[in-house]
Subunit: 391 residues, 2 copies
Amino acid sequence: MTTTDMASTRLARAAAAAAPIIEFVDSPLGRRADDPRTSNFLFGNPQEMPLASFTASLHRWAEPRHKDWFAYQTYVRTAQQAVAENLRSRYGLPFLPDDVVLTTGAFGGLSMLLNGLIEAGDEVVYFSPPWFFYEAMTLFAGATPVKIALRPPAFDLDLDEIGRALTPRTRAVILNSAQNPTGRVYSADTLRQLAGLLEKASAANGRPVYLFSDEAYSRIVYGGRRFETPTAFYPYSFLIYTYGKVLLTPGQRLGYVAVSPAMPGRDTLRRTFMATQMIQGWTFPNALMQYTVPDLEGQSIDIGHLERKRDRLVGALRDAGYQLESPEATFYLLPRAPIADDQTFCGRLADHDILCMPGSVFDLPGYFRISITASDQMIEQAIPGFRAAME
Amino acid sequence: MTTTDMASTRLARAAAAAAPIIEFVDSPLGRRADDPRTSNFLFGNPQEMPLASFTASLHRWAEPRHKDWFAYQTYVRTAQQAVAENLRSRYGLPFLPDDVVLTTGAFGGLSMLLNGLIEAGDEVVYFSPPWFFYEAMTLFAGATPVKIALRPPAFDLDLDEIGRALTPRTRAVILNSAQNPTGRVYSADTLRQLAGLLEKASAANGRPVYLFSDEAYSRIVYGGRRFETPTAFYPYSFLIYTYGKVLLTPGQRLGYVAVSPAMPGRDTLRRTFMATQMIQGWTFPNALMQYTVPDLEGQSIDIGHLERKRDRLVGALRDAGYQLESPEATFYLLPRAPIADDQTFCGRLADHDILCMPGSVFDLPGYFRISITASDQMIEQAIPGFRAAME
């Protein structure tokens, strides 16, 4: 009896696409994340204690108000209302509570969209360097990932290339603004041009090309810059969000997908999404977390502090001779590795107790990623090591 | 541009299979669940306030102990240890912490197994009347559901029929003991015979036929009866569990899959399951819920009270002329409807403010299901109405 193939073909293919990140987590470098002597720049994980306000909200809503407090929940109304109200006031768009689908983070939201809407054999466009799981999740949904490069140093959207990549089989484009790992926020002008391309492709295809807009970092934007939601420019848009970034609580699995108020057929979509979340394994966020949403809408880590950490570290790295842009948003700096082999270079940094992620983990060899969720102390402690590794 | 087909074919097929329950929840009868005047016997949902010990555990573990408290978590070690220890002491089987895969309830566990292990085109056997989502979830995983009837009044496993249903394409059998909705607990002898059939099929097929053992109700067993885990009898077994039943907190999404200690290739499976949970959308239970597991292992609703409710209602229904067995386990009574049309009969009960689920929702027309999670008061209030509806 064979036990060597203990995974479905679909899972095995998807896992192969995610192998760089899955293997990195379990690598000698990845496993040093728990070592308290290090300056840990690896993941968008907290390096300081959680927000007291977040913990207070958990306590507040853990207290049952009625017998159904911990009963089966699909979408808690107060959560839907709080999200819709925030989106309306932030973007001036008429988002409705009924169009807010609570999910277990942006991860869960994207999974719902891909598995609920995308046909086997459909093409899904994404941009690279990408977030770690776009390709794997697309494959797991039975679809075909189509990669478009974001070219350094600006990592702009190449609209000509997008136009050429849209085919009769294209069903969705996954766009991540503010972008992990490049820190780019796309402008209204770019988003309008992208929308034009998608409108044209939708008309040509006789069915919409969806825009899956991953806005996990939409509130982590620097320099008082205005964040434009890509969903404002194109009707067939889904706004994907997680509270895991702005609160640095990724282990608490809470986010949403908001359907564009301009989307035709929203009533049908509501039924699709509820069925998808049920059949995927009742993937609604748990009751307690849904109750906290109205509180959490008003909470945030200190973005000014993040910006000061960005400035301190960008300055120190440039002084040390590194080439990097200052990100407009997100947790991430993306310097060029001073040698071609980013993995070797990250190993060299680790010898100085500095943990960074090699670009080859996210399809960008020759670069490495620094998460500024690291504490001030970690940053100060690391600067001499960054200098030494450069020399 | 068409918007009529706003769902993937895969989702649409699966949702069609789940349509009876999805439509029932949204039906006039299902929507009366919120009406406080009713005796609500519809779902395995709480009809009394949550356990104080459960709430206390949420408070206890909401308090962060270190900076990583709400960081990304896969499997919290203390949760894995508590589960393995409980299973070892309960069943005398050497379950290991590493083989405990934390999931968002039994629902999430089954989804992980089906999507991680089952090949498109494989056959998955299940028994009917079934839990609501087996067929839909099997279809969503790309596999072919194969239904075997449990015949009233005993609803025993028909081993001959199982033997005939196992084919070269059979990849898994989903067994639910204690069984929703029949209340049956299968005996060691039956489970041993089933294991024999599966061993034989596995040998013939050259690959294992897995046993997905849904044990959501394993701690809700009456009369001091011993619960035998089906996983004790067959090596290729997965024990699926949720805390949602024994604590009546189904909204909190917490459970596990424990891999049989006799399973060959467990190291490979661990990697498969972690990848599956990541790629399904990071479906690990949230950090807070995982921390509570060692507490929750020691908590339970009052099973003696449930048993008294069972006895009271079984007695009263029989006195009123209903035909039903007294369930050995689970929340459910399963009387015959006194008229052929169970939906019409449940409508008649609803006229007496009694909410029950028609058997046609779970592939057993002519019967109806009563959840004894209803309060004593609801039960006493309903008895005259049950009598009147019979007349």
